[in-house]
């Protein structure tokens, strides 16, 4: 897929949504559409198939989304179908979310741990990130038993790895480095 095209659509959508002050609604629409794709792979395959006629796609989209999404989102869907760029929709969503976070000074944080974190732990991590970045945080917590223990936090281009797996990985890298230096 051509991300440059998706970025252009996302920028236009973001500007229009910002102007109408419906950023959250449009983002909810895009997330809802993505959820619909995830729930029914046949729907996604139908919509993204080059063999399906654009009119049929438009009819289906109108029927499913016209009364559930904002007019701006609907306009975007029609435009993408008309230009046969419907496959760019997931990238448009991601770029839209990135623009919205950038606009609202929000840092997206992914927190992974081997066991579920307590609310106090979650709050402490979020507070630490918000203080450190001087931005509000949008946090997604994930459970990954392969981490064995500890927490790993990813935001922007940073990774704070306090997991046992991360320590083992660093230890392996150090050992491999030493081995290769010896040769």
């Amino acid at each position: 897929m051509d991300s440059r095209v998706a970025k252009r659509y996302a920028r236009a959508l973001f500007a229009a949504a910002l102007k109408e002050n419906i950023l959250a609604s449009v983002e909810d629409d895009l997330n809802g559409i993505e959820d619909a794709f995830g729930r029914d792979p046949r729907f996604r395959a139908f919509l993204f198939s080059p063999a399906t006629a654009a009119e049929d796609k438009l009819t289906l989209v109108e029927r499913v989304f016209s009364d559930r999404v904002t007019a701006l989102t609907m306009h975007l869907l029609r435009l993408l179908l008309d230009k046969r760029r419907e496959t760019e929709l997931p990238l448009v969503r991601l770029e839209f979310i990135r623009l919205r976070r950038q606009h609202d000074q929000i840092v997206y944080v992914e927190v992974a741990s081997a066991v579920p974190l307590t609310e106090a732990e979650k709050a402490a991590i979020v507070t630490k990130i918000e203080r450190g970045t001087a931005r509000r945080a949008e946090t997604e917590f994930k459970i990954d038993p392969s981490l064995i223990g500890g927490v790993r936090v990813e935001y922007d281009n940073f990774v704070l790895d306090g997991t046992v797996r991360g320590s083992l990985k660093r230890m392996r890298e150090r050992l491999v480095y030493d081995l290769l230096r010896q040769t």
Binding site: S113, A114, V115, L117, E121, A124, I125, K128, I129, R131, G132, T133, A134, I148, G149, G150, V151, V153, F158, L160, G162, T163, V164, R165, L168, M171, R172, L175, V176, L179, L180, T183
Partner: protein, 207 residues
């Protein structure tokens, strides 16, 4: 001078022929008409001698001699002279040819000798070149063999090193896997909470 001698000879011959005719006629006359007592005495003694016939025979000889000379001896002499001249010419030509052949033989032998010398030199040069080439090829082959050997030794050393590194890495991975398994079995909830708290306390957030 030869024509003068020829004219003199012709005059003499004609004279001799006339003299011969005279002697032949005189002898015939003497034989028939003249009787000499001495000759008759000799005939009675058993020695018949006819002077006229003898004079006639001399006259016939004098007539025949120029004819013989004219029709036999001169052509024969000329033929002998011509033949002698031809033979001399032939011998001269033969000698000339022999000398020419000798010269050609000499030239040929010289050329042959020169050619043989050149051939020997070329053969020697070819042999030297072949020997040089052989030495060059042997040196090149030896250098290549050395190079291959060196490369092979280097590759063996590298391969050995690589295998050793792989082995060590395998040991590292196995050790870490074992460590991971042990840690997985031993990290309980309390230890996990402690690790999380340590992270919260020590993590350094960059902007």
């Amino acid at each position: 001078m030869s024509s003068q001698k020829q004219s003199i000879s012709s005059g003499a011959l004609i004279g001799m022929a006339i003299l011969g005719l005279g002697l032949m006629a005189g002898g015939y006359y003497i034989s028939k008409e003249v009787h000499i007592g001495f000759l008759e005495d000799l005939a009675k003694q058993g020695i018949p001698l006819d002077l006229g016939k003898t004079i006639s025979a001399i006259g016939v000889f004098l007539i025949v001699l120029p004819l013989l000379r004219l029709f036999y001896f001169n052509p024969l002499g000329d033929a002998i002279t011509n033949r002698t001249s031809e033979l001399e010419n032939t011998f001269s030509e033969a000698e000339s040819l022999r000398q020419e052949m000798q010269k050609m033989k000499s030239d040929y032998e010289q050329r042959l000798n020169a050619t043989e010398a050149r051939a020997r030199e070329e053969i020697q040069a070819q042999i030297r070149e072949a020997q040089n080439m052989r030495q060059s090829l042997m040196a090149e082959a030896s250098a290549k063999a050395d190079e291959f050997l060196k490369k092979a030794q280097e590759e063996i050393a590298m391969e050995k090193e690589r295998v050793l590194v792989d082995l060590r890495l395998g040991v590292v991975d196995m050790t870490l896997q074992a460590t991971e398994r042990i840690l997985g079995e031993n990290v309980d909830d309390a230890k996990n909470r402690k690790l999380i708290q340590e992270f919260i306390d020590t993590a350094e957030v960059k902007q």
